[in-house]
């Protein structure tokens, strides 16, 4: 995960002493990045002030009516805020508890639990939402049926509520909170906790009086970051919001763009409003990271040591296993069962089992070509992306090129733009750019590369910054050529980081939905939007089969890659 790598910022502009070639290289890189990222947003801005025919571009009638109309969407804006705050609170609370247990205590099965907690990241929020709609629908959910049988009370759980949406978002998009907080806790000097214990404080008192204050800056950073992520969330709100007549900004944008005549102007204005909030939130996050002196990270070398929790460690392990059960085992089991039903029902005497759904799914374009396309795109974007992003990281953090700070800023910019909004911007842009890429896999590849740049650059920058320049300088002094230095020093040291970045970009590509949903064409279907389409038209049981096929394909690909590259991770 990339978010823990808080690289120091490069200066925005440092022209003194730069050669013409360096200036040209900088300008070229900056222009390409601006072209990929800022140019589509210009189209979005233009669309937001279009008050005439929504399909006219450039707009003929200009005004601010679409922004004034935002007041009509006040409920949608409030809904979005509510869900984002609730999901952030749950994700942070769970992330903190799990991170503390797995990094600061001697809980048994730590390594296995850490791996299992990563699985929701592979499952995707869409699959999670589908699974939880099967589990906790008020009348037909498996859990409610169980409660009726055991307790005799019906409709106890209702996933089609704002809380239900937030719950699924926290479970499947909140993994990042666990990763960020874990990173902070791992970098904390344990001697501070030990001092507290030596002076007689109990374990809980140490947790609240020492650990919590020490990780507070990192925790605040995680809160702000996760909140921004939750604001742009789409899949869970789509699957679980519609049955409850509950719309957030992303699902309202989706509805506006699906209608005819399409309300691109309103969707763009709503998207820009969300972008504004997200941009402000992430700017605040960046400001905190730049300004923050993390008291937890001392210059002194230390050995991370775990607190001996005695017999309580089994209770703590149970908490972790409960999370794994709720976020991994239960959803997968529900999807598997539903995918084998002739029609989705929890009434046992109506259940009729079949493998027909898998057979049907494999005849659909949505699975056959879409899954192949997704895997091809994942491999292509990850392979090219890692190379290009490594060059960008080198420019930003290792070169003396002027304006490298500006390049960093532009590269990280897509993080502030909700995926749905960026997808809409890319749709408008690529439909109107006179290069016939719309409707091809190429446009999806470019879009994925663009939106995944922050992820790749963050991951790689963490690795690059850990490698001391003096290693290369030593070799240079000893007479090694640049190529020899790269082959014998830089590449071997970077390899685990490059593989990790490749894997992250691959998974993020295969599960991508926000931009794909707008850019997918008849010959360029990809799996996540295809599952959304299936969910809306093909029935729960068939969609469950498709979700299982997608999940299995991603997990298999990840396992295959990990086994092939296992040797590169040794000692990393």
């Amino acid at each position: 995960m990339p978010m823990q790598n808080l690289a120091p910022p490069a200066p925005l502009w440092r022209p003194s002493g730069a050669t013409k070639i360096e200036l040209l290289a900088s300008a070229t890189v900056a222009l390409v990045c601006v072209g990929l990222i800022v140019y589509p947003l210009f189209f979005l801005l233009a669309e937001s002030i279009n008050v005439g025919d929504p399909q006219n571009f450039p707009p003929k009638d200009i005004g601010i009516d679409n922004f004034i109309d935002l007041s009509l969407d006040l409920t949608v804006l409030l809904n979005t805020a509510y869900v984002a705050i609730a999901a952030t609170a749950m994700a942070i609370a769970a992330g903190f508890v799990l991170a503390w247990i797995l990094t600061r205590t001697n809980v048994p099965g730590k390594a296995l639990l850490e791996r299992l907690l990563e699985i929701p990241f592979y499952l995707t929020p869409l699959v999670g939402a589908l699974a939880w709609s099967i589990l906790a629908a008020p009348k037909s959910g498996f859990l409610n049926q169980l409660l009726v049988t055991v307790v005799g009370v019906s409709d106890l759980l209702d996933i089609y509520t704002p809380f239900g949406i937030a719950w699924v978002m926290a479970l499947f998009e909140g993994t990042v909170a666990f990763v960020m907080i874990s990173a902070v806790m791992k970098s904390m000097d344990p001697s501070l906790e030990e001092s507290s214990r030596v002076t007689g404080a109990g374990k809980l008192r140490t947790l609240f009086k020492i650990t919590l204050p020490l990780v507070l800056p990192g925790l605040l950073g995680a809160i702000v970051f996760v909140f921004a992520e939750m604001l742009g969330s789409f899949a869970a709100a789509l699957v679980l919001g519609l049955p409850g007549r509950f719309f957030v900004v992303t699902t309202a944008i989706w509805q506006y763009t699906l209608s005819y005549p399409p309300e691109y102007g309103k969707a763009s204005a709503l998207g820009l409003a969300l972008f504004g909030v997200m941009f402000a939130t992430l700017s605040f996050y960046r400001w905190m990271v730049r300004r923050g002196t993390f008291a937890t990270i001392s210059g002194k070398a230390f050995q991370p040591r775990s607190i001996d929790m005695g017999r309580a460690r089994y209770g703590l392990a149970a908490i972790c296993w409960l999370y794994v059960f709720v976020a991994v085992i239960l959803p997968i089991a529900a999807l598997l069962l539903t995918s084998c039903l002739r029609f989705a029902t929890v009434i046992v005497d109506q259940m009729s089992f079949t493998l027909q759904n898998y057979e049907t799914a494999l005849t659909l374009d949505a699975v056959r070509s879409a899954l192949t396309n997704s895997l091809e795109l994942g491999i292509g974007v990850a392979t090219v992306g890692v190379f290009v992003m490594a060059v960008l990281v080198w420019i930003i953090y290792r070169s003396r090129l002027p304006g490298r700070g500006a390049v960093e800023y532009v590269v990280m910019f897509p993080q502030s733009v909700p995926r749905m909004v960026f997808g809409l911007a890319l749709l408008t842009a690529w439909l109107n750019i006179p290069i016939p890429l719309y409707g091809t896999l190429w446009v999806l590849a470019i879009a994925y590369f663009t939106v995944l740049m922050p992820l790749g650059v963050r991951t790689l920058s963490g690795v690059v910054l850990q490698i001391d320049k003096s290693l290369e300088e030593c070799a240079q002094v000893c007479g090694a050529t640049w190529a020899y230095r790269m082959r014998t020093i830089a590449v071997p040291l970077l390899r685990p980081g490059l593989v990790a970045a490749w894997l992250l970009i691959f998974i993020a590509s295969v599960r991508e939905i926000g931009v794909s949903i707008y850019l997918m064409g008849p010959n360029s279907k990809v799996i996540a939007p295809a599952i959304v389409s299936s969910w809306s038209s093909a029935g729960t049981e068939l969609t469950a089969a498709m979700a299982m096929i997608q999940t299995a394909a991603v997990l298999l690909a990840v396992l295959l890659l990990l086994s092939v590259t296992a040797k590169y991770f040794k000692g990393a």
Partner: protein, 356 residues
């Protein structure tokens, strides 16, 4: 059936007016070829040379997959692909692409309002399929060849008899306003052409405020009949309003507990309209598919895949169902009013279903 179809003469005049737009008038082929059991005017060698076919369709994914698989079985050298979405979404996508000069689709299937709009915008290429002789003139553009009604989605009310006893279920359109059904009903979203058709035709019978009154019943809106039926089968809802008869037949065939109500006031029969697109990248393959699809062979495949009624004169009922002619069908008496009501419908329906 002819006596029961209200307003089709009006429809014909509307289509006649808009079709006189200066496009090619002579696209009738005098001597069609018999191939694979149907007659076609398409150049098969050319169609196979094109080798591809892109269909934009509102039909559900699994049904569309069966249709293109059956076509491919007869013409293995042509590889059909499709994009599936609701009528409004599909048309918005198609129009955005065309506006930007991107021509990806060969054939399109949308609702009659959007088909009419597309015709006005010269979106269709004229091709008079030899199969069109089997469709009455009210079901075709004037002049014929731009679009044809190729499917009829009959829609009314369905419920789950395990959750609602027959004597407790609604019998007429007016019954759905009974407060005892509050919070138990679902409808389609405003992006659905069928829902727009139901809204307009039932409103003509029940009065202008009928649907507005439904808002207090808090119906939930979904994108397809599959979701609607899923929810009454699994007990989340009890009643589907604007329920597609085809969906009822499909779920019933799987053994789902369902009953269907045909209110005495009549049932809307929303046409699904097909036509070849102007500037289609694979025009011969599109013509060949249209001929096959409108033929008895294609219509049979369509009925088996989707359970929709066929508008052909010689149509048989869908599997397990009855012919459309057995019902009192509702069509708009004022086609002009219907064709111009899309925006009003969007706004009103979004309010009823809680988007605004």
């Amino acid at each position: 059936m002819r006596q029961r179809i209200l307003g089709l003469v009006g429809a014909a005049s509307i289509f006649g007016l808009v079709a006189g737009n200066g496009q090619a008038q002579n696209a009738v082929c005098p001597s069609p070829n018999e191939v694979a059991g149907f007659r076609t005017c398409a150049n098969i060698a050319k169609a196979e040379q094109e080798g591809k076919l892109v269909i934009y369709s509102t039909d559900v994914e699994q049904g569309q997959a069966k249709i293109v698989a059956a076509f491919s079985a007869s013409f293995p050298k042509i590889k059909p692909t499709y994009v599936r979405a609701l009528s409004a979404s599909l048309y918005a996508k198609l129009q955005s692409e065309r506006q930007a000069g991107q021509y990806l689709a060969d054939l399109v299937n949308v609702d009659v309002v959007l088909a009419n709009d597309f015709l006005k915008k010269n979106g269709y290429a004229r091709y008079v399929s030899p199969q069109m002789a089997a469709f009455r003139s009210e079901f075709k553009s004037k002049p014929e060849g731009y679009f044809t009604w190729a499917q009829l989605a009959v829609a009314a009310i369905a419920y789950n008899p395990r959750l609602l006893a027959a004597d407790q279920a609604p019998k007429a359109w007016g019954d759905i306003l009974n407060p005892k059904y509050a919070g138990t009903m679902n409808v389609k979203s405003s992006n659905s052409g069928v829902q727009h058709f139901v809204w307009y035709t039932v409103r003509e019978v029940m009065g202008k405020d009928f649907w507005k009154s439904l808002a207090s019943q808090k119906p939930k809106a979904f994108d397809s009949y599959v979701q609607q039926y899923d929810r009454i089968v699994n007990g989340e809802d009890k009643i589907v309003i604007g329920a597609q008869y085809s969906g009822y037949l499909e779920f019933k065939a799987k053994g789902a507990p369902l009953d269907f109500i045909f209110p005495d006031q009549g049932v809307p029969a929303s046409p699904q309209v097909w036509g070849v697109i102007d500037k289609a990248p694979n025009p011969e393959a599109a013509r060949l598919f249209l001929d096959w699809f409108l033929s008895p062979i294609g219509q049979k495949v369509m009925q088996e895949a989707l359970f929709l009624n066929s508008p052909r004169d010689d149509a048989v009922p869908p599997p397990g169902g009855v012919a459309a002619s057995q019902h009192k069908l509702l069509f708009p008496s004022d086609w002009d009013g219907f064709l111009g009501s899309k925006r009003e419908f969007n706004t009103e329906w979004d309010r009823i279903t809680g988007l605004r």
